[in-house]
Amino acid sequence: MSNTAHARPNYVAVWAWLVFLLIISLAAVYLPFSQTVTVSLIFVVAAVKAFLVVVNFMHIRMEHRLVHLIAIVPVIFFIIMTMALIPDIVYNR
């Protein structure tokens, strides 16, 4: 954050979107989609929900660039670690 004034999101509207997205992910489980479509949909929805919380509730856009770096590096490490272990654990058991 800086000294400059910033616009405050409509927090209640963000919350309503989060609940709506939760309903979509619940509906996806019970609709006759293939497993691939269902799993993809619920995790895309989860990622969108997390994005909405981080951007609107944690105000990450207004943070210092160093905060962006601190937040994103462990996420990248997590993705690399998981992807790197797929050949060993998933396909080579």
Binding site: M1, S2, N3, T4, A5, H6, A7, R8, P9, N10, Y11, V12, V14, W15, L18, V19, L22, S25, L26, A28, V29, V39, I42, F43, V45, A46, K49, A50, V53, V54, N56, F57, M58, M62, E63, H64, L66, V67, I70, A71, V73, P74, V75, F77, F78, M81, T82, L85, I86, I89, V90, R93
Partner: protein, 196 residues
């Protein structure tokens, strides 16, 4: 959309040590939960059939209700932060209290869920899925307890009027932690309750 003055009094090039500290802490937490979630995903991919059957026994209804509870407590937390920025003490106290209640409600639902599962024989020793389930939700529950304690301390300070004038940033920092706990649950819910 309303425009308000930012609470921080620092330039674009200098960050308060408290904010730096909470973000470093959250980064380490990403790796803690990331290790668990990554391991869960890998073992789940390696044994999809058996785990899918196990995952049918968790209560999607209670999981969904708890998701709404946590999302709502995140809303009240950010509203508490906004009230502090606006120097509205009554609202800040109200929203901090509601956030604490949300956390307690989450734990009550979780306790009901655990009791039902364990009474049906689904203990942490009942299989790999259940080991992951209890470890991930248990660790998350401990974080919820930590958040409740921190927010309760803020609520008491707000009630006594000692939250002002120099300690408002604590609400922002506790809020960052609380929203992070919410984000973790946002991923735990589909992983444990929906992907069967």
């Amino acid at each position: 959309m309303s425009t308000v003055a930012a609470t921080e009094n620092y330039s674009d090039n200098v960050m308060p040590i408290g904010k730096m500290g909470i973000w470093w802490f959250l980064a380490s937490e990403i790796m803690v939960f990331g290790g668990l979630i990554g391991s869960y995903i890998l073992y789940r991919l390696a044994s999809a059939g058996a785990w899918a059957e196990m995952a049918h026994h968790v209560s999607t209804t209670i999981g969904a209700i708890n998701t709404v509870v946590l999302l709502t407590s995140s809303l009240t937390m950010v509203l508490a932060h906004a009230a502090v920025e606006d120097e509205n003490r009554q609202r800040a106290k109200l929203y901090l209290g509601l956030t604490v209640l949300g956390g307690i409600l989450f734990l009550i639902f979780k306790a009901v869920e655990y009791t039902t599962e364990i009474s049906h024989g689904f203990t942490p020793l009942a299989g790999t899925f259940w080991s992951f389930y209890f470890t991930m939700t248990g660790l998350h529950g401990l974080h919820v307890i930590g958040g409740i304690i921190a927010n309760l301390a803020l609520f008491v300070m707000a009630a006594r009027g000692t939250l002002w004038p120099n300690t408002q940033k604590r609400v922002e920092y506790c809020g960052l932690y609380w929203h992070f706990v919410d984000v973790v649950w946002i991923f735990l819910f589909p992983l444990l309750y929906l992907s069967y």
